[in-house]
Structure formats: C-alpha cells, structure tokens
Symmetry: C2
Subunit: 235 residues, 2 copies
DNA sequence: ACCTGAACACCGTTCAAGT
DNA sequence: ACCTGAACACCGTTCAAGT
C-alpha cells in the first residue's frame, strides 16, 4: 500500500546516540568523546552522526538535558509555596545528586540552561515557586541564579579534588596554613559534602533573614510586578 | 673566560609565552589557543613552545596562576582577624573582579588551585584568617571551599548568559514563568551582579549565625548585627 | 640551549556518492 | 532517508636535525 517498503530500519536514532554518548562520558570523560569514537561505539562511521545532530555540541547538550530531566522538582508544586526554604533545600540536594552521578558532564551543565528544555523547566520551577512564596520577581530571579552558582560551583570545582595528593607540594615556608592540605585528597568526599552542607545552610539562613525583612505587602500572595530593588545595600 | 659566547639571545621565554597566551585568551577565548596559533603569535614555530613548557595545559595553568596572583589578600593580614566577615566580603569582591576581567579563563581557574602557587596562596590566606578569627579548622576549610564554589560558580555559569536572547525559545505553554527570560540576556550584568550580591550577603549572614553559635572557646565577638536575629531553623 | 621541519595519530565537519 | 569513504583544515606532541 505504501510507496516502496523501507529496505531496512535506520541504524541510528537521536536516543541511541545520546545514550551512547552519556555512557562514554561517564566512563571515560568528556575528552573521550570524539565523533569518530562515538560513532565507532555505535557501529557506524563518523559522519553518520550528522544525519541526526547538526554539531557535536548539540549531542553534548542533549546528554546534559537528560541529566537535568532527572532533577526532582516535585517539592515546588506543594500548593501554597509557603515553605520555600524546605523546597529550596530539598531541590538543592536533588540537583547536587544528579550532578554527582555524572561529574564529567558538569562543565556542560554549568554553562546554563541555554535552549535545553529540561534545564529551562528547572529554572521555571524555582522562579515560579519563589514568586508564589512571596518573593518579589527580581529577588526570585536572583535566588535561582545564586543557587545555581553554588550548586554547579560545588560540583565543578570539587574543592578537595583541586589539591594534589602530594605532601611535597605544600612547603610550610610558602603556605604556613596548608600543612594538612595533601590529606584533602583522601578526605575529598567528606570535605566536599561538609562544605556543601555548611554553605547551603548559610545560604538558606541568610535568605530567611532577607525574607523576614521584606515589606509586608509582598508576602503570602503573588507579588506585583513592581519588584523591589536588587540586593539591598551590599557591596 | 667562559666557554664560547652565546650566538644570540633566545627568542622565547616562559613569561613571553604566558603573556601572549593571556592576551589571546582574553581576545578570542580558550578555543583560540592552539600551540600552532600561539607560536605564530610569538613569531616561532609550534614545537618551540615545548622547550619552555611540557604541555599546553601547563601554559594554561601558568596563565591562570597569573590571574590568581592579582587577587587582593591584604584584608586577611589585618592583625587580630577580628572582622572575618568584612575580610571575607572584600576578598570575595576582589576575587570576582579578577575573574570578571578574564572570563574565558574561569573554566581553568574553577578546576581548583592544583599546584598553582598563587592559587595555593589564596587558599592559605583564607584558611589562616578564619582559624585566627576563631573558626575551628574543619569549619575554616569548609568556608574556603564554599566561598570558592559560589564565586567561581557565579563567574562560570554567569546566570543570564545561560539564557538565549530569543523570545521564541520560551513558549509560555511550556514554561509559564519564563515570559521575560529573553530579557535576561540584555540585563545580564545587572542580574549577575544582583544575584552575586544577594548570595554573598546571605552566605555571610548565615555564616555569622553559625559563628555566633560556636562553643564559647571559639571567641571573637565579630558577629555582625544581622546575625543576632532569629530565622535560622535547621535545614 | 633553543629552534626547525617533518611526521604521527588524531580532530570536527562537508560532500559527492551510493542504497 | 540514511550511511559511506574521501577530503579539508585543523589539532597536541615527538623527534632527528640544525645552530
């Protein structure tokens, strides 16, 4: 009935390519992904990929979006949005966990949501929930941004990983306070988690102070478009 | 007296290479730096660089270290370390300014101090000052880490830059709260600065609360007025 | 000691050709 | 429509050769 019958089904699909790229990145890192290598992994030749994606970067973006899609956002549709602090906290843990599962992908995710649908969904959910909780829109934008800064910063620059595992690198004459720094590499996970928890708590405590200081009119219901000024008096 | 006299002075030096690489990165970004291109900029052939650096990555690290070296640390040697909050605040601004001057280099700096002397000097100064102010060493480590997270995260993932400047990317049916998102690209600087200031203030307020709650052994009386008030239920 | 050209084993991407 | 081999313009790095 139809035209001529397909000789055989396609070897490739966007999903297959994204899945293979994700596995390769997790296993061997971002630098391991070349179009030729990825194609070989899929049993095809390099240029075949260009039938499904316009550039290699588009493939990376698609993999990153798949990770963003796994970030839990259910804490934000809790009706009234009263408890913005708890929602923000739980979301931060979920976000961090997603990044920790795919550390090699963090540099891609840290570039921002761009055009990635799942990345935009995350930004949308945070912003919407903060406004619903009574934050002025400008402040809600800032909160989405600064939480991203902190979470991706912690995932990317895993602090302890930045120190080499080699005592001789830290001459006490040069760095009087870094005598134990080579131990950081061993206790990496502990330090990273501790710093993240301390920082998250400080951030939420500090935001709670700012929330308490908001003009009474702006709380409890969706705020007007007027939007308070930026960050108060800082700097 | 000496052996045979040098025929002519060397064409290259580590300093010249680092300076040329820095200029190239600032002008055209990290991807513009290939060994051949950089060598051409210096009037030599590609492999010549390998007489002065072992790898291209070592060149990048040296450029990054030069940026770290320009971060002001003078606020940390203020004798008693009483006012750790102000010192941390001023340092954060200085750090952010250094990164903002060389945005293309942030991905390199975000990897952590590694073996870079100036990077280690920064970590050493922060840690030392916090301990001197009465923070327990473990907490001082966390503070150094979480400040790094936030500052490099904000420089790298410049929030607004992550959104495309194209209204059609944000279908209200998909993202009900992102109606104005394409405006972010225009107001990028404003949003980034506002988010940074809001976040920094929250972070310091939150840390002040934790400082005030330290066992009396950790003295200092440095907590600012903002810390005294409530609002810090645990996360 | 320092620079060179040639070479090796790679890249991302385009394109005419096949089916 | 989808895949291929060949080709273009690149990479980082090594090395024997020159001075």
């Amino acid at each position: 009935m139809c035209r001529m019958a397909r000789p055989r089904k396609p070897l490739l699909s966007r999903d297959r390519i994204v899945a293979a790229a994700g596995s390769l990145i997790d296993a061997e890192g971002l630098e391991a992904v070349s179009t030729r290598r990825l194609a070989a992994e899929l049993g095809v030749s390099g240029p075949s990929l260009y039938n499904h994606f316009r550039t290699k970067d588009e493939i990376l973006e698609a993999v990153a979006d798949a990770v963003s899609a796994r970030v839990d956002l259910s804490m934000f549709d809790a009706s009234d949005g009263r408890d913005w602090r708890t929602a923000l906290h739980d979301w931060a843990l979920s976000y961090r966990a997603a990044l920790a599962d795919h550390p090699h992908l963090v540099p891609v995710l840290a570039r921002g949501p761009g055009r990635r649908p799942a990345g935009l969904r995350v930004a949308d959910a945070v912003f919407g929930a903060m406004v619903r909780a009574g934050w002025p829109p400008a402040q809600a934008t800032h909160i989405g941004a600064l939480m991203r800064y902190f979470i991706t910063g912690s995932a990317l620059g895993s602090f302890a990983r930045g120190f080499v595992d080699d005592e001789s690198a830290y001459d006490p004459a040069d760095y009087p306070h870094l005598g134990q720094a080579h131990l950081l590499a061993e206790r990496r996970e502990q330090v990273d988690r501790g710093a993240f928890e301390t920082g998250l708590r400080a951030l939420l405590d500090g935001l709670a102070l700012q929330y308490a200081a908001l003009a009474p009119g702006g709380r409890g219901a969706a705020a007007t478009g007027a939007a308070a000024r930026g960050g108060g008096q800082g700097g």
